[in-house]
């Protein structure tokens, strides 16, 4: 399979990409990282700049369309959705490209989806000590419908107690450029999640969406919380703690 590491993971949280590779390799998956990749174009798309997004998306198609990539795996629900659900909308006026986008979109899998539904991972073989809540990014939850998979995987991690939390379906308030354009509303949304997190008694926040995690972590730290914030891959990482 081919690995798609979204740009902000590449630059800001490379450890999420590293953990993803280690988990996949430990399961015997052969991981290819096409170096020509950059971004899926989501920031431009969500802001309405479809032309610019198309430019970036075309590059994405060129890089990942190779026959020998049976799957494209991505440790971000949101970026996976961009390709599998929104590229067809982006290219709705150019049927040829739309067809290409749909074909590739069918092979794009969010990380936990790939683990649970493609390689059928049973026992994650990982351990973690802590009480955690899981935050499903909105795209992952509503567009991909991949919600039970990561929770099932986490329930198999020894030592990890997965807690329920209030309003868990509510958006964390990141929404890409939304949090830049409306920072106060976005922060108020994050605070609601943080209050629910506090109430749950969890010491760890886990998600399959690094962007939600970056946003919530930023707000948690600013409000003086030391909650651990981890991507699912980091919880499962067989080399946790090593570079």
């Amino acid at each position: 399979m081919a690995l798609f590491v979204p740009c902000f993971v590449d630059l800001i949280r490379p450890e999420v990409g590293v953990a993803t590779v280690r988990v996949l390799r430990s399961l015997g998956v052969e991981v290819v990282y096409p170096e020509g990749q950059t971004c899926c174009g989501q920031p431009a798309f969500n802001s309405g700049f479809f032309d610019e997004a198309r430019g970036v998306a075309r590059r994405f198609l060129d890089v990942f369309e190779r026959e020998d990539f049976d799957y494209v795996v991505c440790p971000s629900g949101s970026c996976s959705t961009m390709v599998s659900r929104y590229y067809p909308l982006l290219f709705e006026e150019t049927p040829e490209e739309r067809g290409r986008a749909e074909a590739l979109g069918g092979r794009v899998r969010e990380f936990s989806d790939f683990l649970a539904n493609v390689i059928g991972m049973e026992d994650p073989g990982a351990s973690y000590s802590g009480r955690a809540v899981f935050h499903a990014g909105c795209h992952q939850r509503r567009e991909l419908g991949v919600l039970e998979e990561p929770r099932r995987i986490l329930r198999g991690v020894s030592g990890l107690e997965l807690l329920d939390w209030e309003d868990e379906e509510l958006c964390c308030g990141f929404g890409g450029t939304f949090s830049v354009k409306m920072p106060e509303v976005s922060a108020a949304m994050a605070d609601q999640k943080i209050r629910a997190l506090e109430k749950s008694g969890a010491d760890t926040l886990i998600s399959c969406d690094p962007s939600c995690l970056l946003h919530l972590e930023g707000r948690l730290r600013r409000t003086g919380h030391d909650t651990r914030v981890l991507h699912l891959a980091q919880v499962l990482d067989p080399g946790r703690g090593e570079v």
Binding site: V21, T38, P43, G48, Q192
Partner: protein, 490 residues
Amino acid sequence: MAAKAGRPGEGLESRVEGFNERARVAVKDERLRSAVAVHSKNTIRNRNAALSALPDAPELRERAYRIKQETMANLDRHLERMASAVEKRGGKVFFANDGEEAVRYIGELARRRGAKLITKSKSMATEEIELNRRLQEEYPELGLEIVETDLGEWIAQLAGEPPSHIVAPILHMSRHRAAEVLSEEAGHPLPPNVEDLVYFARERLRQKFLSADIGITGANFGVAETGTVVTATNEGNEGLVASVPSVHVAVMGIEKVVPRLEDLAVFLRLLARSATGQKMTVYTDFVSGPKGEDEPDGPEEFHLVLLDNGRSSLLGGEFEEALYCIRCGACLNVCPVYRQTGGHAYGSTYSGPIGAVITPLLKGDEEAKDLPHASSLCGACWEACPVGIPLHELLLRLRRRQAETGISGRAQRLAFDAFEFGMRRPGLYGIGAKAARGVQGPLLRDGVARSLPGPLKGWAESREIPHLAEKSFRELWREGRIWWRGGKNS
């Protein structure tokens, strides 16, 4: 200039710019936010229970979408059918292109009837065209008194505030504030408990019901086949407004027509469940014209005003689905942005996700510039909508329209051009990343960025900024550093 929330009579006809400013204030209003939170929580819980007790809810939702789709494809035919059925029963039908025409029609009617007092039941369409204010301003010589008779609407009217939720108009008001408003009307203090307030309202409104010359209602649906105007309410005031005065005017958006009675059954089953979690509203009234010769009560005259006001321009286009809305308010209740800001921040008659979609469509992009961005695109609205309107997709399309017509502004255009330029060239992307790592140094304090320039300033003020890693994933990969003890090196 930002329009201020709470300005009397503010509606779709007035300016709605300035969501950001109003939202910034609203998110600090703890009382408002907790009122909205309590309402949303209860309503969503009831709604979920009501819908899950309905085993065919998903199929109903699909059917509702299909009926709307088919109706819009032949809207003119259905409206004609509706109009002729109403006329056959002795009703009059007026097709109003915009608010102006609707106001003039009703104003002239009031003049002809020598009307002094108009009672109204809840109607979003008349809020949209600011009927009350404009009738009074444009027909001062008639000295019209116009009274809202839905309890919440009446309190909002007395307070000089527009409704802040499609279904729960005074969601933004505390019980104490409502008591204050009614006490002023009563001329003596009323205790802030619901029973006393309702009792007072009932007493006061009863006189109005009995002496009104014209009753104006909205319409939840119009059945083309039978020419029936259907309203679904919980207070019973609608029946009094529609039947006691000698003239009844129903104002109905043209998109509310459904072809057949059997279609109505689909929507009625969805509406109350989605709006409040009830199986049915307490009252569902059917009006098909003035009273017949052998009927004991009902109005002498019945007028149906079919309001277009920009709606027909959406037919057959990429925004047509916005017309499928049945105004249940479910999208507001689940919207995390609405839940932080309340309805007044939107500055428009329609708030929440559906408001963010239809306000720019009916009023123009320039004025409602902020609204398509008042969403994190989380999709909760689309999930909740009983008609399956892809609201988040419509918001994206509106954003695209802004980008294409230049409303998004030059700065964003330049930024995304640069984004595209860089992201299409991996070499440049790599160089850019290194350069960014270099310049972030001065912005960091103890390894944490404290402030950021330009458009990122607001973001940085409310959260810790993540900074660029020392080595990117790409570099780690290239250097073959992705290994672990006992594991395989790359």
